[in-house]
Symmetry: D2
Subunit: 101 residues, 4 copies
């Protein structure tokens, strides 16, 4: 996915935006995801003039922006993911209730 | 402002939403504010079909949601503001560069 | 409150940050508020090494950042609030269920 | 990655949280990412008592929460990503400046 995003952005003169600007985009997309989640699983009915949205698309938009940020900073999300799983296995090992086998 | 928001919400059967749901609304409004800020001061041009927005309105929406959350939790924003200014004057007194008099 | 924030920031050489940078601060403070709300009203227990927080302080921090952004853009939050209440009274008048008198 | 997150969460009685609660976690992690980005590429120096952070870890945390939300809603992120790339290729094809070949 990181390669596909890079191929897409590489077509354009603008290239990657600075990190602070990509974060604005992330806030925007997380907000749209929050609206869809609230609409479907929360308590905010849409007005008749509001478009029907899609949680899948909003999730995909958030993922795209995360990938763009990672690409622009030369961070491999595989590594980031591994580091986080490692952290959970140590730091959070006792945070939750283990199922009995 | 807290009284006016309370008067508005008190008209409706739904009343205040639970805190987690108000937070979804806050994320949504902060996202819309981020979009306007990016459009005006950042680097994201709008498509022709995207409505012209207003930073003032988006700021007002964020403020409204913050007030709703405070009201729903019986928190006085005057007190919260005072507590934060107090914190800055102690904790952050040396964080920034004081102007020479 | 806008005057008090202005007085605080006016002491320092740095002054107001650019809008995109203030938005990063807002995202940070909204995130801290979300953590407190989740801790108190949601489902995320804190680890023993995590500091006890305060919803009031986190609300105050969000308010402070909103005020800073408004100040830096010469927006009066009184006007923004009025504009939003006006919008609700027209656009959202039928969104919620009115109480019977 | 979705399988590994599922394997991790499946060990615990708590399982996946409701969507609104996962969104609170996302707001929290996006806020921590914003803080790191501001610290490294923006204008917010850390106080001496603030821990040195890692953009990689914060990106990984955001990714983990997005994956958890997707898993909990039976959404395949591959599909979401494809849908978003498809949307860009149609809707945003003329938004940016194509490089001359």
């Amino acid at each position: 996915m990181q390669g596909r995003v890079d191929g897409w952005i590489d077509q354009f003169e603008e290239g990657y935006f600075p990190p602070a600007i990509i974060m604005l985009r992330l806030a925007e997309e997380v907000g749209e995801l929050a609206r869809e989640i609230n609409h479907r699983f929360g308590m905010k009915p849409k007005r008749p003039d509001e478009a029907e949205g899609s949680v899948e698309i909003e999730l995909g938009d958030c993922l795209f922006v995360l990938i763009s940020l990672a690409n622009s900073l030369d961070i491999r999300l595989d590594d980031a993911f591994m580091a986080v799983m490692e952290k959970f296995q140590t730091r959070d090992a006792d945070r939750w209730t283990r199922k009995h086998s």
